[in-house]
């Protein structure tokens, strides 16, 4: 294999329990987002657009959908002769078999994978954030500072800082302290879970950490603090732009809603930074006479006969006459009957909603977002006679 400057390792094994039914049988990075995408499309497309052609995807929880989705990577232009995308599940070795015990352990168990490319640097990514980022610009920053490790950070509001891994830095962004979810944050620079390491430094640290029986084998909890204590040179890379952790039903819904303003903070229509995805190849969407659509994002293969306001419709969705969908996310191939009302909800893939159902219409801003699938019992029917044309 030809020597690579940087290889990306994408951590995609997470279960994403807080996404409830959405991750019942798929890994969190495979969850749908934005009318046509899955979450993992964002880091994968960022790699492609940044010119990174070698990506290892570390899977663990429910890998079937994720690995068949990635396939040979051609949708992200990652079907390359030298490099490309590799799905890396946990595997048995001579010294036994184990699940990935933590983020760092997942890389540790794939040392040989990285070594075959003999990279100068390794980019660690997670598969559960929505953002567009040029990793190459970050690599230049990392090289300029001759850093051992560069961590991408985003400025978060102080009151939210305790939800994140917080980096405390000098004025020149040199990191002196890392605190995972601090009760009293000293700064508002939150780690985005995007790291660039010098491979020889990370390799040594992973080998040492692998031996530690009381380590949780986690980048944030173990690797970063250890490197700091050893006096390595770690820098924060301030990222300005849209970035969203979509770990909960509400944050996933909010990130979808962010796409709906007339000038959305995340531009999906930029031809110079396309987000690639597997194309479901559906015919054009059909908006019927009498239908109303506004402030919404709608994908091909959908048939809209009712009203859609401020909502996201994935492909193959059908909405019957007289139905009104507001502030909601409707995932692929959902069939919605006639005179249905849906407000502030996420409707899971393949769900069928019968005529005259009412979902979430009594909900206010601030209430948790309803997640509906074919198993949900939380629906009620509107008496037919209360529907005015």
């Amino acid at each position: 294999m030809k020597k690579k400057e940087m290889v990306a390792m994408l951590l995609a094994g997470g279960q994403g329990k807080r996404l409830k039914g959405l991750t019942k049988s798929i890994a969190k990075p495979a969850v749908y987002f934005g009318g046509t995408y899955r979450i993992i499309d964002f880091p994968l497309s960022n790699c492609t657009n940044s010119g990174i052609d070698t990506v290892g995807v570390l899977t663990q929880y429910e890998p079937l959908v994720l690995s068949s989705y990635i396939g040979i990577g051609s949708d992200w232009d990652l079907n390359r002769k030298n490099g490309g995308v590799f799905v890396l599940p946990p595997h048995e070795r001579e010294d036994g078999s184990n699940w990935y015990r933590g983020t760092a352990d997942a890389i540790y168990r794939n040392l040989k994978f990285v070594d075959q490319f003999d990279p100068e640097h390794v980019l660690i990514l997670s598969g559960d954030h929505i953002y567009k980022m040029n990793y190459n610009t970050m690599l230049e920053y990392h090289l300029e500072r001759k850093a051992d490790c560069t961590i991408s950070v985003i400025d978060v509001p102080l009151e939210e800082a305790s939800r994140f891994g917080i980096l405390n830095t000098e004025e020149d962004y040199k990191i002196y302290e890392f605190e995972e979810k601090p009760a009293k944050p000293k700064s508002t620079l939150a780690s985005m879970g995007v790291y660039i390491f010098k491979w020889d430094v990370l390799r040594r640290a992973l080998l040492d950490d692998g031996e530690e029986s009381d380590s949780s084998h986690d980048f944030g909890k173990d690797i970063i603090p250890t490197l700091l204590s050893k006096g390595k040179s770690l820098y924060a890379y301030p990222f300005e732009g849209y970035w969203r952790d979509v770990g909960t039903v509400t944050s996933l819904w909010e990130a979808n809603m962010d796409l709906l303003s007339d000038n959305p903070p995340l531009n999906l229509n930029d031809p110079s930074w396309r987000i690639f995805t597997r194309n479901p190849n559906q015919p054009a969407q059909y908006v019927a006479p009498g239908a109303k659509v506004s402030g919404s994002l709608i994908n091909e293969g959908s048939i809209v006969r009712g009203e859609v306001r401020h909502s996201v419709l994935f492909y193959g969705v059908e909405i019957g006459e007289g139905s009104v969908i507001t502030d909601s996310v409707i995932m692929p191939k959902v069939k919605i009957g006639k005179n249905v009302r849906i407000h502030r909800a996420i409707i899971s893939e393949n769900t069928v909603i019968e005529d005259y159902m009412e979902i979430g219409t009594d909900r206010e801003d601030g209430d948790e977002i309803l997640l509906i699938d074919n198993r949900s019992k939380k629906r009620k029917s509107i008496p037919a006679n209360t529907i005015s044309s």
């Binding site: 934005g34 009318g35 046509t36 949708d75 796409l259 709906l260 007339d262 999906l268 229509n269 396309r274 987000i275 690639f276 995805t277 194309n279 190849n281 015919p283 054009a284 969407q285 059909y286 908006v287 019927a288 006479p289 009498g290 239908a291 109303k292 659509v293 506004s294 402030g295 919404s296 994002l297 709608i298 994908n299 091909e300 048939i303 859609v308 996201v312 419709l313 994935f314």
Partner: protein
């Protein structure tokens, strides 16, 4: 279905779509918001799992080749077989053949190398959803030398005029092939026959100074062949003029038509990576087909909108076909218009065509 070899013959198709075919052949004309005419026949062939498909092109095929690539979109990028694009290539100074026969003659290797026993021939102007496996079984069952496909048309339209007609008896045998305008059985430029017989006919016709396979080998020699007829009953549209293009585009807004073309038949096309279409607060869209990647802030009625189109606030698009990446600026109005790709219509411009004769605006015009 390894028994079938696909032949898509564009050699004799004329590019009668005015501005839409100035720089591309008819088969490459965009249709139905995101496809090109060629996609329909290729998707039919893909569904029948043909081993190889040869595409005989003669002129203006740059955009067609760009669209087809290596055939991956139709699952035809195969180790063995797949899609072969065969442009004209006359190298043999002793070759006396003409027309599509010359084209077939120059590509005999393509036919001989394929292991398939039968060829299925089609053009690109009849949009349909035929099941070639069904056609194949029918052909075997009839024990015919060649089986021709036709559609019985209830209301003949001007675009049917150039089509040949088939006289068919009760047993499904072809009695005559002619050009009588009022006959309802439209020949769909589609037939199936044994490859060996096909090649024999090619050789025979060339030896006798002929030039067009269908006319000279089948129509003229129908007494020498057992010709069966297969009646196709699904979605059918003939696109061979601007009027027929426009009319059939508008017809797709009828939900039954839309369903009969797309419901059971996934139509494949070159993959683009567009975001879903954004409808802004001010959007007002009804009875329209809209592809992905559009940003719509204006009004759209009874129209077919292709990928990446932008319709700004206050703009009004009625009864029109707007192809890829056009931009309709604020307060512009268009009605009964076909805009080819990349057209920019400036603010407050008004373009109104006739519903029978829509305006066609050529590719990349700035107005």
């Amino acid at each position: 279905m390894k028994q079938l070899l696909g032949v898509i013959n564009l050699d004799h198709e004329l590019d009668h779509l005015n501005e839409l075919t100035y720089f591309r052949c008819g088969a490459a004309v965009p249709f139905a918001s995101r496809y090109r005419l060629i996609d329909f026949v290729l998707s039919n062939m893909m569904r029948a799992d043909l081993e190889s498909v040869g595409l005989f092109v003669r002129r203006k095929y740059r955009s067609l080749m760009d669209h087809l690539g290596d055939g991956k979109s139709w699952d035809m990028n195969r180790k063995h077989g797949g899609l072969f694009i065969l442009p004209p290539d006359w190298n043999d100074p002793t070759d006396t053949s003409l027309g599509d026969l010359q084209h077939f003659h120059n590509n005999l290797d393509f036919f001989k190398r394929a292991s398939a026993k039968y060829i299925v021939h089609s053009g690109s102007q009849h949009i349909n959803t035929i099941d070639f496996q069904e056609l194949y079984s029918y052909h075997l069952e009839k024990g015919a030398d060649v089986t021709l496909v036709y559609k019985k048309i209830d209301h003949l339209e001007p675009e049917h005029d150039p089509c040949l007609r088939l006289e068919v008896d009760e047993d499904g045998n072809v009695l005559n092939i002619h050009h009588e305008k009022n006959h309802p059985n439209i020949y769909m430029d589609m037939f199936i026959m044994e490859k060996e017989l096909f090649l024999e006919q090619v050789e025979y016709c060339i030896a006798h100074g002929e030039s067009f396979f269908f006319r000279d080998a089948i129509q003229k020699r129908r007494d020498k062949l057992k010709i069966a007829a297969f009646e196709y009953t699904g979605y059918h549209a003939v696109i061979n003029s601007v009027a027929s293009y426009y009319k059939n585009s508008m017809k797709l807004l009828d939900q039954e038509e839309y369903t009969s073309l797309f419901h059971d038949n996934q139509v494949q096309t070159k993959i683009k990576y567009e975001a879903p279409t954004r409808y802004l607060e001010s959007a007002n869209v009804s009875n329209s087909l809209v592809a992905n990647g559009c940003i719509i802030a204006g009004t759209v009625e009874n129209s077919v909108i292709f990928r990446g189109v932008q319709i700004r606030k206050g703009a009004r698009v009625v009864n029109s076909v707007i192809m890829q990446k056009c931009v309709i600026e604020e307060d512009a109005v268009i009605e009964n218009v076909i805009l080819d790709k990349d057209v920019q219509l400036s603010r407050e411009r008004i373009l109104v065509g006739d519903s029978k004769r829509p305006f066609v605006i050529a590719k990349s015009s700035k107005m």
